[in-house]
Every structure is written in C-alpha cells, then in structure tokens.
C-alpha cells in the first residue's frame, strides 16, 4: 500500500465514524463473514463433486463488495461481478440460492440457466454479469442514463477487476460515463492478477490514474478495510445522486485463491500470499470492532457462530433442491413483456431513516439476515 492511499484510508475511516451506527458495523461484519462462510461451504460442495464446471470465489476481497454495496438505497441498481458475492448478500440474495445456483439446482437464482456468480435477482435490483469483461460497466451506464434522463436521484453501481481495464470496452464505458456525467459508481478491484497475469503486464499506468482523463475523480482505497471502502462508496454515491457524475474507486486487495478452483496459483510468490494473509479483511475488522467500536470478543464470536449455523442451514436447503427439468432448457429465450426490476435491500441505517418507496425490498426482507 502506498503512503498516499494510507492517508486516504485514515481520512475515510474518520469520516465513516459519522455515518455508521453500531448496528451497521455489526452488519458489515456479518455480511463479510456470510460471504466467506458461503464460499467455504461452496468449495466443499465443489470438492464433493456437487458443483459442475469450475468454482470461483472472492476470498480476501469480502470488504469490497460488502462495503461498497452497503451504501446503496433500495432503488439503486447493481451489476455485481464474480468476486462480489457480498454485494448479492447485502442486496438480499440468500446463501441457499447462491449455493443452489452453483450446483445447477432449480432453486438457484437462475434456476440452472447459468452458473458461477453469473446470476442476479431481478427482484432485488440487479442485472446479471456476463463472462466478457467489463461489459456490465456499459450496462450500468445505461441504467444511470435512464435515471439521469428522468431526473431520478438514483445510482447504478458496478464492479470489475483491474484486468477489465485493459479491454477496449472499459474505455468506451468510462468515456461515455464522463461525457454524460452519469450517476454511476465504478468499483475497481485490483486483486493483483488477471487470472495469472500480474499488474506489471496488465498496464503501464495504474488504471485509477485514468479517471481524471475521463473527467471524473478516481480514488485509491485499502480494499481490505471495509469502512474505507464504505466511505469512498458513500461519497461517490452522494456525488452521483447530486448530479456530479461518476467516480472510479480502486480498491487495493489480493485474490487469495486461484482464478478458479482448478488454478493452483503457482505464479504467485508464497511470501506475497503470506503478506496479504496478515491483512485479512474479516480478521482486521473483527479486531477493530473490539478495539475501536466497543464490541466484546464474545459478540464478535457470536456473529461468526450465528452466520456459520445459518450457512449450514442454507447449504442443507440448497442440497434439497432438485435439478431442473430438461424442458426448461428451451424456455425463456424471448420475453413476452417488460417488467421493472424490484428493489434491493438497503440495510444501512441511513435508509431506515427515510420513507423510501420499495417494491421488491419487502419481498426479500426477512430472509437475507443471518440473525
């Protein structure tokens, strides 16, 4: 981490104090733990041969998807990527549906139509990613364009890795967002590798430096500090909502597993992994909850325990879900009508202070919390 970003992180941390309640902090921790526990459970299912294809996770990157998505209001919209399970959980997707999706079961979010993290619940305000990167940044632009044209104070948020920034579509997307000052927040996860390709073979200039050339701010934050990510995303969404345009937030992190379960990471120096293990976002936040925010160690352990039990229940539920009927393969190619996306859950306490009209949120409420 550079000195400059360390300074920015301290500033963000101070600011976050003003915006997060004790309960919010418990939620941030809970969602990170839920992501980790869900993915660990999924790895076991993969090793048991219950997941067809390969398996991909976001281990070590939990603070990013959780911290960033935590700022969103119900009517904001997301395109969530494959290292970002935490954002799905925050918005209201439950681990059983994630696990069922990985196993190709009928109760998975796509009902078996797509696997991996290539899903999104339309009733929770999200549009499913495709494998081509960073395609969803351009789709997020389109949603933001609709908000802008209609004068709605809503925000689109999307995620992509640093690998995506090498693709020409990334330039098209950033340029378009800058021209129209779209209410969109770009979360760039620099996890050091695009599959096996290290940063130095991905770009000559760090991608966050490009933001100002597109006419909007770029911030560099510690991606393993959930409150730093939260605060940067909070500022960015406020800017977007106020009509001040997009923000690119580069979150410095490390992909602690291979690109997929088939990847043994032989190209990663062992000392690099060890160094980043010391910065684990969940362990770090657990310590801070105790040292800075008045949580007792037993409260922290209680959250871990509750989430573990909840994810076990979710796994059992997912395993009970049947495989889809083969005829489903031929259904749903064309739509017979358009329907609005539903709204995502918005667990940040700020949103409960407002009477925000929702439609999908009420449906999802009550089954997204671990406790």
């Amino acid at each position: 981490m550079s000195d400059a970003s360390a300074v920015a992180d301290r500033r963000a941390r101070d600011a976050a104090r003003a915006h997060l309640t004790r309960e919010d902090r418990g939620s941030l921790f809970r969602y990170m733990v839920m992501m980790r526990a869900s993915e660990e459970r999924a790895v076991r299912l993969y090793k048991q041969g219950k997941i067809p294809g390969s398996f991909y996770d976001g281990r070590g990157q939990e603070a990013i998807s959780v911290g960033a998505s935590f700022v969103l209001g119900p009517r904001d919209r997301t395109c969530i990527l494959h290292r970002d399970l935490g954002a799905h959980l925050v918005r209201g997707v439950t681990p059983d549906r994630y696990l069922a999706n990985y196993m190709g079961r009928v109760d998975g979010v796509t009902g078996g139509k797509d696997g991996n993290l290539h899903f999104a619940d339309r009733d929770l305000g999200s549009v499913a990613m495709v494998s081509m990167l960073p395609d969803m940044a351009l789709v997020a632009n389109g949603m933001a364009l609709a908000f802008k044209l209609r004068g709605e104070p809503r925000v689109a948020m999307t995620f992509f890795g640093e690998g995506s920034t090498a693709n020409g579509q990334w330039h098209e997307g950033m340029n378009f967002a800058g021209i129209h000052r779209l209410p969109v927040v770009f979360i760039l996860e620099n996890n050091r590798f695009a599959y096996s390709t290290p940063n130095e073979l991905e770009f000559a200039v760090d991608p966050v430096e490009r933001a100002h050339t597109y006419g909007f701010p770029g911030l560099n934050v510690d991606g393993n500090d959930v409150e730093a990510v939260f605060e940067a995303a909070r500022e960015a969404t406020e800017r977007a909502r106020a009509g001040d345009g997009p923000t690119l937030i580069e979150c410095q992190t490390m992909r602690m597993h291979g690109h997929g379960a088939h990847d043994d990471m032989r190209y990663v120096p062992k000392e690099m992994v060890a160094e980043w293990e010391g910065r684990d976002p969940i362990d770090r936040y657990a310590e801070r909850l105790v040292s800075d925010f008045g949580f007792s160690p037993s409260e922290v352990e209680q959250i871990r325990g509750e989430v573990g039990t909840y994810v076990d229940e979710c796994a059992a539920k997912a395993l009970e879900s049947p495989m889809p009927e083969p005829q489903l393969a031929r259904e749903g190619v064309f739509a017979d009508r358009w329907e609005a996306l539903g709204d995502g859950r918005a667990p940040w306490s700020r949103w409960s202070q407002y009477d925000v009209p929702t439609n999908g949120a009420s449906r999802a409420a009550g089954n997204g919390e671990a406790t």
């Binding site: 919209r77 796509t110 139509k113 797509d114 290539h118 899903f119 999104a120 339309r122 549009v127 499913a128 495709v130 494998s131 081509m132 395609d135 969803m136 940044a137 351009l138 789709v139 997020a140 632009n141 389109g142 949603m143 933001a144 364009l145 609709a146 908000f147 044209l149 689109a156 020409g168 579509q169 098209e172 997307g173 340029n175 378009f176 021209i179 749903g332 190619v333 064309f334 739509a335 017979d336 009508r337 358009w338 329907e339 609005a340 996306l341």
Partner: protein, 331 residues
C-alpha cells in the same frame, strides 16, 4: 401471411426512408420513453437523415449523439431498456455492429433467458450494397444475428412495412435487429398508413400471387423478384419474409406446397445464410410437395468489393434472378 397491407383511414405516399422517420416520430411522440442514440444522429440528422429535425422536435436528450463507440451505444441501450426506456440505436452502417457485437449477442440477447430480464430495444442497421460502399459499408449481416438466440431480426422491403415493422419492433419487449436496406431508402416509395400502424413480427407477406414457383425473398431481393416476375410474365409467387426471426415457417411452407418449386433469394452471402435455413426448412417439411430442387440466389461468399464492375459481379442482378426463375420453371 397477410396478402396486402392493412387499410388505414388516411394514407400517403412516401419513401422507405421517410417511412422509417415517420415510425420513429410517431412512437417518440406517443411514448416519452422512446429515444434514439447513435453517431451523428443529432444536429446532423444522421448519415442518411433518418433523424433529421428530431433534435428540434424532441430535444437533444431524446436524439442522443454518441461517441464512436458501438459497444457503449448498445450497452447503454441495454441498461436504459432494463430501466424502462425504449432505446432505438442507430448503427451508422450495419457493418459497424461488429464493434458492438459483444453487448448485443452476449448481454442483450441472453438476459431474458438467464435472468428473466426483458430488454426492449431496437438496433437500426442500414445495410446492403450497390453504391460502391466497399467491404465495410455494404454488408448484409443478418445471418450473424440469427445464430444468437434471443434476438429478433426484421428486414422490411416496402415503405409501409418499414413503418409497421419499426413500430412493432419498438413495442416488442425483446432486442430487435432492424435491417433497413440503403438501396431502398429513396428508390422505394409506397402508400404508408398514417398514424399508428404496426406489422406483426414473424408474418411473411405475399407480395405477388402465383402458382408455378415461389421466390422467397426479403429486403432488396423482393423488388428484384417482383421485377423479374413481371418481365418474365410468368405465374410466379413472391413471398416477402419481412421477419427473419421469428421466421414465418407456415407461410413459407404454404406457398411452396401450392407452387411446388422454391427459389430463396437474398443479397447476403451464401454459406449458412437465411437461404440455407429456408431451403432446409422446405426440404425437411415439404419434400413430398416439391417438383424441383430448392435453389438459392445470393451473393457469393466474398467481401463486397468497391469498384462498380466488381460489386455488380457479387450482388444478385435482375438477369440472375430471371435466369434462376427460368431454370426452375423449366425443371
């Protein structure tokens, strides 16, 4: 299959190009969620002037000039469509969809299948050759889209269908590729119903009734077939497909069962084109009704060359059409 265009209270003759503008204008006035985006479509009115005057009439926000970035155009349309707008993208030339192809075939086409999210958008594709546009301004890329399940594909031949199919495409909850043939823009004129006028997607039209041979065509080839039939003075039926996906399978089969002979004609290249699909359909479903092999009249499998004699040598000509009809009639 409809035999004639639906009657309307008031009609007016206009060009194919004006009919496209008329359809856009009508839908934009009727539905505030409809908007256009593309390169040079605003102040300039578009490379072919389809959106001439739209900025003055509807404002720059609803006739949005974009940078030269086709994936950004298609991607923005996908997102806007999901959020309830009805975008009509203009590719300046159909050829340029190659630069927006990823967003079209991987994002737009598959979202409903994967996630149940409808993407109501239109991609207007000025296509076709005949004016020395060369290999990058003359292509007929319809077959590309037909291999991407989730896209609808239409290709009007007449002014009335240009309007009716475009309004239907805008109202359809799926991504629709709308191929408008540049050679027809100002050369084809016809009566176009005023006001609200739709042509259902997936219904072919009998452009000329006949009993001895069916020419299955769309776009510019419809006019070639009609012209050939008149000059030959033979009992030839011309079936204008209008929609390539969904394809009017029953309409094709009904006509071929009546005439027992089929020629499939298009300006696009031959291999794995619409002609191949239609010929396969006929041989699979109406083999017993055939009195001759199904034949195709298409461009050869070459890029569209620039120099006039070379271009004329690739695009199907009237004499080619007449010869193909004569051969089948004599079979």
């Amino acid at each position: 299959v409809t035999v004639t265009a639906a009657a309307s209270s008031t009609t007016g003759e206009m060009t194919y190009l004006a009919a496209i503008s008329d359809a856009l204008r009508f839908e934009m006035a009727r539905d505030p969620s409809v908007f256009c985006l593309g390169e040079d479509i605003g102040a300039f009115g578009g490379a072919f002037k389809v959106t001439d005057g739209f900025v003055e009439e509807f404002g720059a926000d609803r006739c949005l000039d974009t940078p030269l970035a086709e994936n950004a155009i298609i991607g923005a349309a996908v997102g806007a469509a999901i959020e309830g707008l009805k975008p009509v993208c203009e590719m300046q030339f159909a050829d340029f969809i190659s630069c927006g192809f990823d967003q079209l075939v991987n994002v737009a086409a598959k979202l409903h299948y994967r996630q149940g999210v409808a993407v109501p958008m239109v991609v207007r594709l000025p296509s076709g050759g005949g004016f020395s546009g060369g290999p990058f301004h003359s292509q007929n890329p319809e077959a590309w889209f037909l291999q991407a399940p989730g896209l609808k594909v239409v290709a009007p031949a007449t002014a009335a269908d240009a309007k009716g199919l475009l309004i239907s495409a805008i109202r359809d909850p799926n991504p629709v590729c709308y191929l408008e043939h540049k050679g027809l823009y100002r050369h084809v004129k016809g009566e176009v119903p005023a006001g609200d006028y739709t042509v259902p997607l997936g219904e072919a039209r009998v452009a000329r009734e006949g009993g001895e041979l069916t020419v299955v065509a769309y776009g510019s080839s419809v006019h070639l077939a009609l012209h050939a039939a008149e000059e030959l003075g033979e009992d030839i039926e011309v079936l204008d497909l209008r929609s390539l996906c969904p394809l009017d399978r029953e309409g094709i089969l009904a006509s071929v069962r009546k005439t027992s002979k089929a020629l499939v004609a298009h300006e696009a290249t031959r291999a794995c084109g619409v002609g191949a699909e239609v010929a396969a359909l006929i041989t699979e479903e109406a083999f017993e009704d055939l009195d001759a092999p199904v034949r195709r009249l298409t461009a050869p499998d070459v890029p569209i060359p620039f120099s006039p004699p070379l271009e004329q040598a690739t695009l199907p000509q009237l004499e080619d059409m007449k010869e193909a009809c004569r051969e089948l009639l004599a079979y």
